[in-house]
Symmetry: C2
């Protein structure tokens, strides 16, 4: 039985208007990318809500946050299912207060994740490109007040840093820790992603220019994140580095290395201009 | 002679209110970090300006962009001097139109860069941390209309992808390329950065718990970006990979590896709670 692939419907927020051939609306793709990005960027119209430092404040604010897609009501949901985004961040008190104050639907928020997978070096400056993945989600954020959901989200987020880390730490969090941790649940309205992978592509005019072809090196420089050797801390008393750390290191290093290398060798994306598409 | 180190003055936008001991206002630190981040995130209050798709649109929007600090009027300026941020991005036409329409001071914009340098694995979920660097700039964006400045900024941005790449490509850009490229110049109002580096630090209560200390591995897993082997493209005719590519690959790989490794071994930051500081 073929399972349907869910996509976010295109609306005025998430529709990609430029390089539409690179646009992806698949829930699986977008959620996977959010979940494998160590730092997300979120912004919100602080000045629109009562806790703004100044009502005349013209600036939007971007905060780096840790986040993870999941479903508290259906923990077995897959990455291709509708999910919420749970956020935990350092610069959180302002945004948390705003969420509390916003009431009702929650605080409108945009969440972004981007990763460069390679430098695409072409004949001309203008054709230079990145192999990259980027995703954006739009939704409404509210503070998680339910203790069970909060504890579940804390485990979800801790295990996103290193899979299976949660149960290898001192548990459960004490009352002070539960109190000081604040989690936002973002109900997702829409989202989209853009992905570029492949070899360089230049314009026809330059490809026909023998002098240029003979003098400019073209190709891809793959770029990927790697974990180094684990460095035990000053008060560590566990001699052996645990399997959940070593296995994650090995699998992430392999996955990142292979992704960037494969992206560097794929066929170049074919740009098809659609009616109404911007240049 | 000692040179003064310039800092962004603290204002309501850029002041770090949480983990103040990690806050950095030095122009050199912030500009260097912006310049070494391959993708920046910028946002702007689209709905506040006339080109918004809907006046009722509640969502802020985050765009991934390439950017670089520089000074067109004083190209010899160092990273510690006041600089502008030049932005070039794929999803640019909407933001470019907004900038054009905003007139006067320009479009209020926030630019963010974040990088994780290591996972800091501690005794409790709550003490887990990243070694990381993040920077944020606030400013006003206007479209670069002057052709000389535009060409200068294109060279600046191309050479930020690979140093010295510009002069190794087919030059100059033709009229169509100049026309299709749009660059934003952001006059910076303020900025700040946050940096965490060092070994794990746990709470005293857990450090005194022998059972916890004997069962939970603590340490840092350094995380850093590396370039793989250059992959020549399908129409490349230059047999030898050029020195500007090879040298950049080698220097970036070395710098990233060393930074993350050193950060994993430094003393843990000492958190000093200041009067009025949030938890």
């Amino acid at each position: 039985m073929v399972r349907h692939t869910l996509e976010y419907p295109k609306d005025i927020h998430n529709t990609v208007n430029r390089y539409k051939h690179q646009a992806v609306y698949s829930l699986t793709t977008i959620h996977t990318f959010i979940n494998t990005t160590p730092v997300l960027h979120a912004n919100t119209n602080l000045h629109k809500v009562s806790f703004s430092p100044s009502p005349e404040d013209p600036f939007p604010v971007i905060l780096p946050l840790i986040g993870q897609m999941g479903s508290f009501s259906r923990p077995s949901a897959s990455l291709g299912d509708p999910l919420e985004c749970y956020l935990h961040g350092y610069v959180s008190s302002r945004i948390m207060n705003l969420s509390r104050a916003s009431g009702g639907k929650g605080l409108p928020i945009c969440i972004a994740a981007s990763k460069v997978d390679g430098l695409v070096l072409t004949l001309t400056p203008n054709s230079h490109n990145y192999n990259y993945r980027s995703a954006v989600l739009f939704g409404h954020a509210t503070l998680v007040e339910d203790l069970d959901e909060k504890l579940w989200a804390m485990e979800l987020i801790t295990n996103s840093v290193v899979p299976d880390r949660w149960r290898h730490t001192r548990l459960p969090p004490n009352a002070a820790e539960m109190q000081s941790t604040q989690i936002l649940r973002v109900k997702i309205d829409s989202g989209s992603a853009k992905v570029r992978e492949g070899v360089p592509n230049d314009e026809k005019g330059d490809l026909g220019n023998k002098e240029v072809l003979g003098s400019v090196w073209t190709g891809v420089l793959p770029l990927y994140e790697q974990f180094g050797e684990p460095v035990p801390g000053p008060y560590n008393e566990v001699a052996e580095i645990p399997a959940h750390v070593l296995e994650y290191r090995e699998s992430l290093n392999k996955r990142n290395f292979e992704y960037a290398g494969a992206a560097a060798r794929k066929d170049a994306p074919v740009k098809k201009k659609e009616p109404g598409e911007e240049d």
